[in-house]
């Protein structure tokens, strides 16, 4: 309350209704450099914009000039991080889930983002579509069929050990030869990777940013969440490092996904229409995706990103409904409930961070996924924050944690379940045998209207990339403009094009995409520390909001 009064005395009123602004000398945009290049204006943060831009160029250059060395260094780093720190990733992710669940049930959940009287900017449909499309849409397209299948197969295969160390990839104790048990374990393990944990990771980052921006009046950048810990030092080099790291992870995360996505979309187009698989097709695909994303960012949050996200979710829902009806409907419905129960049942064992025997699964799958989600969290979290003003913390956590998790259970049950049913009941193994990018299409092949549904599948893959690319460009633009959401439009166009250009350069270099993706996932380690600190900051921030009431 004291802070609020001080702010009022300085002529700074509170947000809509009771809240508790942070008193800081920092003026948003004070470190920014404004100017223009020809007719194009810019308004960028110094040093975050130049340093992150130069670092991206330097890393791309390094990968191109010394591909073997870069590949070796990054894959060593990747292995060291996901294998050496598996306990840390697993333990931290558990903390994020528990933290979020506690926010739902404690009075802290009553705090409203943007002040007690704030009204939500977006209705449920648009809001949910945007957070889902940015969060994991594209992964669901590729892993919806393949992951349940992988865990099912490895579980059926049972365990194997060499010198007392497990060499198989099965989760937990496997389920050798028992189809029903292997299916339950496979579904539980898949949902574990796409359910509460990843969404808790996103929710923590999003909540921290939304709270410190909308309720505390700090700039909408990652560093603001650290004000309770570092005080005004966040406006100095500590904050520069945090923000630069976030830009770096976001840009490379997007560019490498875009590169891989183009190769995957190319494989799908080849399967359907015989389009040749080569780098020319892939460069055209990246250019097309970047061009659509560019139109979307130029049309803005409401006119571009939101509309595309809604179209995407609509299409995805149609495809889901189609597979549910055209596939083994009753089996899928019962699998959904079964999987949900299996998830809850296996959750304690799957999330156990220490003393795991299934090392390949817990390090190669779980630890990899957690590092991956965490390296994406600055981008997805910041985007979710941008569109979540006006929600109460309880509503926010329920909608960002529980509902997406349930949708993932449904999606995995329907897509993975149909493919599993094809193997177990029909002996159709084309989806099981196909490469990752073709599994979805092979599964759709034996359902009616395969031509149309496969086309919807390809459109979904491409549009999901567009919705990641456009929202990512907005996020990078905001961070590199020191938290300004009204920086000149050419700037967001620059990041969108830059990201496409980096993807093309990496695609054309041998091994560039995979080695840089390993490097990006490795940034999950420092960000895990960042996220743990954020939990503490959120707690401090919410407690001071409660006092303000």
């Amino acid at each position: 309350m004291a802070d609020e009064n001080n702010n009022m005395a300085d002529g700074i009123p509170s947000p809509d209704g009771a809240a508790n602004l942070i008193d800081t000398e920092y003026e948003l945009g004070q470190d920014n450099v404004e100017g223009s290049v020809g007719p194009l204006g810019f308004d960028i943060h110094n040093p975050v914009f130049p340093v992150s831009g130069a670092a991206v160029v330097a890393f791309v250059f390094y990968t191109l000039v010394l591909p073997d060395q870069a590949g070796a260094v990054f894959s060593w780093l990747f292995g060291a991080v996901t294998k050496g720190f598996d306990w840390f990733f697993l333990g931290a992710a558990n903390i994020f889930v528990i933290f979020c669940l506690l926010l739902i049930v404690t009075p802290l959940g009553n705090v409203r983002l943007g002040g007690a009287e704030a009204k939500p900017d977006y209705g449920y449909v648009g809001w949910f579509a945007m957070l889902f499309a940015a969060g994991m849409g594209i992964g669901l397209m590729f892993y919806g069929v393949s992951e349940p299948m992988s865990h099912f197969s490895s579980s059926m295969g049972g365990t194997a050990a060499e010198n007392g160390v497990r060499t198989d990839w099965a989760p937990l104790g496997a389920a050798v030869g028992d189809e029903a048990a292997a299916m339950r374990l496979g579904m539980a393990a898949t949902i574990f990777h796409w359910g509460l944990h990843p969404w808790a990771i996103y929710a923590v980052v999003a909540l921290a940013l939304a709270l410190f921006s909308y309720n505390k009046g700090l700039p909408l950048t990652i560093r603001s969440a650290f004000h309770p810990i570092f005080g005004d030092a966040v406006w100095g080099w500590v904050g520069h490092i945090i923000d630069t790291l976030a830009v770096f992870a976001t840009l490379f995360g997007l560019a490498t996904s875009l590169g891989f996505g183009a190769t995957q979309a190319n494989a799908g187009l080849n399967e359907l229409f015989g389009v040749p698989v080569n780098s020319t097709t892939e460069v055209i695909l990246i250019s097309a995706i970047t061009a659509i994303a560019l139109v979307s960012v130029l049309r803005g949050l409401d006119g571009g990103v939101k509309i595309l996200s809604e179209v995407n979710m609509g299409l995805a829902f149609v495809l889901l409904l189609f597979v549910l009806i055209a596939g083994p409907t009753l089996f899928l419905i019962s699998l959904f409930w079964d999987s949900l129960v299996a998830y809850v049942e296996y959750l304690p064992a799957l999330s156990n961070p220490i003393g795991r025997e299934d090392v390949n699964f817990s390090q190669g799958w779980t630890s990899f996924y957690w590092a991956w989600w965490i390296s994406w969290s600055p981008f997805v979290g910041m985007f979710i924050a941008r569109v979540s003003r006006g929600r109460s913390v309880r509503e926010f956590v329920i909608c960002v944690l529980l509902i997406p998790s349930l949708v993932c259970v449904l999606w995995m049950s329907v897509f993975g379940g149909t493919a599993l049913h094809q193997v177990v009941s029909d002996g159709y193994t084309a989806a099981q045998d196909a490469s990752l990018e073709l599994k979805l299409f092979k599964m759709l092949d034996v359902l009616p209207l395969a031509g149309i549904t496969s086309l919807i599948g390809i459109v979904l893959v491409i549009v999901f990339f567009v919705t990641s690319s456009d929202s990512g460009s907005l996020v990078i633009d905001t961070i590199t403009a020191g938290g300004k959401v009204d920086a000149p439009i050419p700037q967001r166009a620059f990041w969108c094009l830059f990201e496409g250009a980096v993807a093309i350069v990496l695609l054309l270099s041998a091994g560039g995409l995979s080695s840089l993706q390993s490097m990006v996932i490795s940034t999950g380690l420092p960000f895990t520390v960042v996220l743990l600190l954020m939990c503490y900051a959120i707690l401090r921030g919410l407690l001071s909001e409660r006092k303000a009431k």
Binding site: I12, P13, S14, P15, D16, L21, E27, L28, G29, E34, G35, S36, P39, L40, G41, F42, D43, G114, G115, D121, Y122, S213, Y214, G217, L218, P219, L220, L298, R299, G300, L301, D302, G303, R386, V387, R389, G483, K484, V485, D486, A487, P488, I489, P490, R492
Partner: protein, 138 residues
């Protein structure tokens, strides 16, 4: 001839608005028209204000200040959008209709960052608005 004059202002560059404000005030005095300042902002903190409320208050203070300086009654209209860099034109179109303005007086060609953007906004409003539009070059 005119009954309501609308003046879009960019509070981040308030000092650059003087000429347009002077023109609008003298036109308002000449025709006995009401004067309304409109500002568009985001609900995320900006360099002008930490919150939408604060933005509205600063805009209102700006209007009162200019009104007093030129001896005329002026009101303000704060418009909050999700993505101001992109939605400004549309927000201005809507506000012109919403307040029933019959003349828009607008500063254009601010130097630096706003140069590119604002020139576009003036041209857009002139092309799309039913009201008369007076673009004041800096």
């Amino acid at each position: 001839m005119f009954t309501k004059i609308l003046v879009p202002v960019d509070l981040a560059h308030a000092e650059k608005m003087d000429k347009a404000v002077r023109v609008a005030s003298s036109l308002a005095q000449t025709y006995g028209a009401a004067l309304c300042f409109v500002g568009v902002s985001s609900d995320a903190p900006t360099s002008v204000a930490h919150t939408p409320d604060e933005f509205a208050q600063k805009l209102s203070a700006f209007a009162a200040d200019k009104g007093a300086a030129y001896g005329i009654a002026a009101v303000s209209e704060a418009v909050i959008v999700n993505d101001p860099a992109v939605e400004l034109n549309h927000a201005l179109d809507k506000t012109i209709d919403g307040v029933g303005a019959d003349l828009v007086v607008m500063a254009t060609h601010l130097p630096g960052v706003s140069d590119y953007i604002w020139a576009g906004h003036g041209a857009h409003v002139a092309a799309h608005s039913k009201a008369s539009v007076f673009l004041v070059r800096d």
